[in-house]
Amino acid sequence: MVQESILLNFPKGLAGFPEFKSFSLFEPKGGYPLKFLQSTDQPEVSFVCMDVAAIKIDYEVPLGDEEAELLGLERQEDALVLAMVVVPEDPRGMTANLAGPLVINARTAEGLQVMLDANKYPLQYPVFGPKDEIVLSFPKGLVGFPDLKSFRLFEPAGGYPLKFLQAVDQEEISFTCIDAGAIKGDYDFALDPEDATFLALEKPEDALVLAMVVIPEDPRKMTANLAGPLVINVRTCNGRQLILNPDQYPLKFSFILER
């Protein structure tokens, strides 16, 4: 994580600005998580950007051999991936460009703007869109909590990508969860007909699948329960917790250690 100003070298410049190769990256006071990338030759040229991991944890930049070589990236932990951010008049409409990420080797301070297919990677990814609080209805409650039927789903401050699912009638009960697809890309299960009818999912983007998370004292040992996913239709705000076979879907998936 970048704390102070660091000097970066972009040997190929940035898209549309090939002449600028040297930049200083810093966090404006009180500006977290936004960062400024300012040209050292022409300080009036600066860009607003942010760490992509703060808005989309399952974002991965495919790098060609040549790009990897240019960056001298040997370990993926050395990579810092930033997205250019556009801040409109109403900052809640802020978007990040995920089609032209800046990949930086934090060890060598070499950077490169990578051009990805804008049909697959959004040019204007909403920074806030899906994070607003929504109220969900679970008519059958949750497993072990049959009386809790209405929940607020929101992101605690500084908590992305974790979310809280808080019981509306008993605010002291809240569950920590995470987008299951983001921690396990190939997570997939079949809905039985009764669940499918209830959830009435028409389009894949209407579905939100969450897994409950347990954070032990050593957070690296954090686990997610993939045997009891919460499946939510974000359009109708109806949800249900499914019970899958724990022999196939782990109750305690260590998503940090197993990477």
């Binding site: 992509v52 944890i57 990949v103 009960i173 569950f175």
Partner: protein
């Protein structure tokens, strides 16, 4: 608790619409068939309880601050993937 003796292929009816049939008896256990409306959920008790327990563990006080855990996830999740011949 109500205890009823049944033989293979005999059944009981619960609440007029749920039927539990004994389909096989071996030295290892009993196999049951359940005929119930689609909205009646049937689960093995230990699986149901394991999920309920996982829910309880995820509710309430976590052992480490959520913000620390979130920062750890953000730092560990995918960033770049080096592919050949993109």
């Amino acid at each position: 608790m109500l205890v009823i003796s049944r033989k293979v292929d005999q059944s009981i009816i619960i609440d007029g619409h749920i039927e539990v049939v004994v389909t096989d008896i071996t030295k290892d256990g009993v196999r049951l068939g359940i005929i119930a409306p689609r909205d009646v959920e049937v689960h093995r008790r230990e699986v149901f309880e394991a999920i309920a327990e996982a829910n309880r563990a995820s509710s309430g006080q976590q052992s480490a601050p959520v913000q620390d855990a979130a920062a750890l996830i953000r730092s560990r999740m995918p960033k770049v993937r080096i592919t050949r011949g993109r």
